[in-house]
């Protein structure tokens, strides 16, 4: 690992969710650096800029104005520079269609936003400390959706 911290990015248009997200990492006290973007366009602008530091884990909301999470996922997967980014879908809904589509597009894990702060912290810490290499190799549709 080039950095001594884990670089995390969240793209989410919902202000409350962004607040919960950053609060959770504040309380988790892990060695992380969190960057937050308000929508897909902002996220992709950042990722595509030369000065950007690519994240280790990208949390991607699906339902965003201007550019949806699915579009972002498509662009990232089409770009070989970004192949190493672990992508966690971070969505309110867990409809079969969304799970199926993002799995096929190559996302690494699907997280349904939990309804308690305690669970949120638990999920985020699990995801961040996950061995991605191991998870990606054994990835299948059954373990794609993160069980709470």
């Amino acid at each position: 690992m080039p950095n001594d911290y884990i670089h995390i990015i969240l793209a989410d248009d919902d202000e409350d969710d962004r607040l919960f997200f950053s609060d959770a990492f504040d309380e988790l006290n892990m060695n992380t650096k969190v960057n937050i973007f308000n929508d897909g366009v902002e996220l992709m602008d950042y990722l595509n800029s030369e000065a950007s530091i690519l994240p280790n884990v990208l949390f991607l909301d699906l339902n965003m104005p201007k550019k949806s999470g699915i579009e972002c996922l498509n662009e990232i997967k089409a770009n070989s520079n970004m192949a190493d980014i672990a992508i966690a879908i971070y969505s309110t809904s867990a409809s079969e269609e969304d799970i199926e589509e993002t799995f096929v597009l190559g996302a690494n894990i699907y997280i349904k936003k939990p309804s308690s702060f305690k669970q949120l912290k638990k999920v985020l810490s699990e995801v961040v400390s996950m061995n991605w290499q191991y998870h990606t190799n054994g990835l299948n549709k059954d373990n794609f959706l993160m069980r709470l």
Binding site: D14, D16, D17, F20, D23, N63, T92, S93, S95, E96, K113, P114, S115, S116, F117, K118, L120
Partner: protein, 594 residues
Amino acid sequence: MIKQVFSRSALFLRIVFLVSVFLILVIGGFTYRHISNLTNSTKQVVSTYKVNVELEQVISYLKDAENGHRNYILTKDTSHLEPYLSAREKVNESFAELKEIASHSEAQEGNLKTLSKYIDALFKNFTQTNAFVENGLTLTEEFKSNFFEEKIIMDSIRQKINEMIALENKLLKERQKQYQSNLQFTPLFLYLLLLFTLVLIIISYNRISNDFKNIKLFNNQLSIFKEATIQLETIGKHGNWVWHLDTNTFVFSDNLYQVLGEKPGGFNPTLENLIAFVHPDDKQKFATEMDKMMKVEDLPFIYFRIIKRDGTVRYIKGYGKLLVNGDGDKRIIGNITDISDEIENYLQLEERNLELEKNNAELSEFNYVASHDLQEPLRKIQTFISRLEEKEAKNFSSSGLQYLERINVSATRMRLLIDDLLQFSRTNKPDKEFVLTNLNELLENAKQDVAETITDKEALIRNDELPILSVIPFQIHQLFLNLLSNSLKYSKKDVAPIIKIAYSKINSKDDENLMKVPKRNYHKILFSDNGIGFEQQYADQIFELFNRLHNKQEYSGTGVGLSICKKIVDNHDGFIMAHGEPQLGATFTIYLPE
């Protein structure tokens, strides 16, 4: 079948006719021969008698001549010579006759010649004797010898004639004998032949009358069939047409005119007049299809529109097929049907389908709103509550904390409701794919889903080996899960739940629950528990949406789970039934068709 019967019969009749004609010809031939034989034989008898008569006459003439001659010698009166002279002439006449009659036998002809010589000699002798008498030399030796010679010749003639008569009789007898053998069997043979012919003719008559009866019968059926066809045409708005290609003439059925909005026979049945009804936009297509019909044996249906005289447009479906009959006549036989009502219904249906699709789309939209937009604020409320409870608990009074708790319970319940509703609407989805699935796996997965509760409640689940069936996997999984959850939820507080899952294969006629169902094999899966059960009178109600038998403070639940179960089983064309006894337990029976 009719055709076959008659062609066989026609062949039979033709053969019988030919045989009869032949036999009649044979009978005619034989009869002709027989009659000509009879005639011949009569002729021969007549000729024999004639010969004999003539011969007798010859001898009597000769006797006359001899007598006259002798009288002349005795009396020397020349008047006695008259019979002698006329005898000569008569003998000659008889001889001429005899020559003609006796020509049938060589022996007789020879005899006749000999006889003629004798007679010539006799008359020569007479003449000589007469000369002696005229000269008065009657007492000379020469005269005596001459006279004696006369007697000898006369004897020879008599003998010859007797001989000839005998021969003639013999010949007659021989021939009669020969004919007799020919004639003896002919009448019997002819009679038998005639009888046989008669039998043949009777058989033919029988056959013909039988055929006639059959034809009448078939005709009768045909006329019934024709009447039925006419009625069918009227009911179905059909019209029939026949196009005789050789003469380029058409025959239209009465109802064809009516389909076109005309009276039967209201216009000349020609192609031009038919095309005149076709909608201008479809004329080209119609003409092309008619052309094709002549070349190709079999065509798909053709569709076109017509405009009736009153201006209404009707949709027509047509079909035609080239038929060549046994005589090589080419005909296209076709039908048209007015399908405007069908099309109208179809259009209506399509419109309704579109409406339904729109409704469905709206429902999906609603699903999405429910799943996403409604959940989002709810989730945030819950998260904020959890934040409050964690971070701000010390700032609340005890009643404030209690309110917070009540808010949390309500929010949790709302979430449960939304989730269940989503689940329920998801079982409605049209993309149901049946996959051959091992139900044991689905049950195991369902057990996994409630593993925590099983552990908490120390529940015991015992199941039979389940079959492999063609099902919608996620739905059956949901069904098992809901039934397990149900049993776990409504367990007695102080008794560890025991859930038994039994499987058997049955036929609907053997099962009291399926008495009203058509005979069929079913897979029967029984979920029974030792929970709190329910009054049997509610057995049907519990499958209704939002129907609950207990208040929600006692048992959490939305009243959706069993409705989902019912829907899933319905989706599989199966049945689900509930049986409960308060404080003893509940049993849910599922029947899935084989």
